[in-house]
């Protein structure tokens, strides 16, 4: 029984891992510096793969993620966007994930009053 328990734990640990693929800056120079109220926010979407080999669905386009991020966090401006792409492996399924992380300048109505 103990052997089975240890074997199951090993299988779970070995099958559950994250493989990063890329990290890209979606930003060019000459951007204005964010204000003091700016915060980091993120938005992600997942696809689905079988056995880490057969891709069934892909994550959304980065523009969709950025727009969702802007709407959800009510950002007046989005600065320094970064795109991460990685795959979470769990047993026989894997999830390719796109994540956009950016600095969010809150809309004027969201700024705290002095």
């Amino acid at each position: 029984m103990m052997r089975l328990l240890l074997l199951s734990a090993c299988v779970a640990i070995l099958s559950g891992c994250t493989v990063p693929h890329s990290r890209q800056a979606l930003w060019t120079s000459h951007a204005a510096m964010p204000s003091d109220e700016a915060t980091f926010v993120a938005e992600e979407d997942s696809g689905l793969m079988l056995l880490g080999l057969i891709q069934l669905t892909e994550p959304d386009h980065y523009a969709v993620l950025t727009e969702r991020l802007r709407r959800r966090h009510r950002c007046a401006k989005v600065h320094h966007a970064q795109l991460d792409y990685f795959t979470d492996h769990w047993l026989i399924v894997a999830f390719p994930v796109s994540r956009v992380t950016a600095v969010c300048e809150p809309a004027a109505s969201e700024k705290p009053k002095p």
Binding site: L26, H30, A31, V78, D88, F95
Partner: protein, 214 residues
């Protein structure tokens, strides 16, 4: 001369280009969305696929707890507030295939979002379990499955389900690969009768690590 003055006045009145005019396309403002809403809105129908661990049995105490642990895959097609779902789980027996268990099921859940807190669900379903280790199969109905999202971040969420199933059918599995000692084993038949008639209700607790797929 008047023309030159007018041109100079027009140039002076024109707004100066902003300092950050060279920002890339990703820099946007609330007044200028990056995409139209129809392209960026979250769909109301999407899939949720996850890995589940389930404790399924009639004994929740005692020393033999590992015997009732199942692991497997879950999938749900979320349509607005409803979610038809499927389940495929097993208790793998690495050394002896005939000691393993397999559970498959189909069901339907309804969801209720408690704003700012979590999402709750109520579900019903039917399941089929092949208990090779006990030499029989059982069919269940699940009239009660309560669920809650206990962690939610990005496309990740962790869901907890508790519920009860009732055995409504079953029979011995008479196959030489599973029961090499002979068909219609008396001990297996007694155990099947107990599972079907004496202890037909079984509880379950399931934790699902899932991702939203849209």
């Amino acid at each position: 001369m008047p023309l030159a003055l007018a041109a100079a006045a027009a140039l002076a009145a024109a707004p100066a280009p902003p300092e950050d005019a060279a920002e890339d396309v990703l820099t946007s403002s609330a007044e200028a969305p990056l995409l139209p809403r129809r392209l960026s809105a979250r769909p109301t129908t999407y899939g949720v696929v996850g890995v589940g661990v389930e404790r399924f049995g009639s004994n929740f105490t005692g020393s033999d707890q590992f015997d009732n642990q199942l692991v497997g895959l879950t999938g749900m097609w979320r349509i607005s507030a409803f979610g038809p779902h499927a389940l495929l789980m097993t208790k793998p027996a690495v050394e002896h295939f005939r000691d393993s268990r397999f559970l498959v099921g189909l069901g339907l859940r309804g969801f209720y979002r408690v704003r700012g807190f979590t999402e709750l669900s109520y579900g019903v379903g039917s399941h089929f379990e092949a208990r090779l280790e006990d030499h029989y199969w059982l069919a269940y109905v699940t009239p009660l499955e309560l669920g809650a999202t206990i962690w939610d971040k990005g496309s990740w969420n962790i869901e907890l389900f508790v519920g009860a199933r009732r055995a409504v059918g079953g029979s011995l599995i008479n196959h030489y690969l599973i029961d090499p000692n002979g068909f219609n084993d008396a001990e297996a038949r007694e155990e099947l009768d107990r599972a079907r008639h004496e202890r037909p209700w079984k509880g379950f607790v399931r934790v699902v690590f899932a991702r939203r797929i849209d």
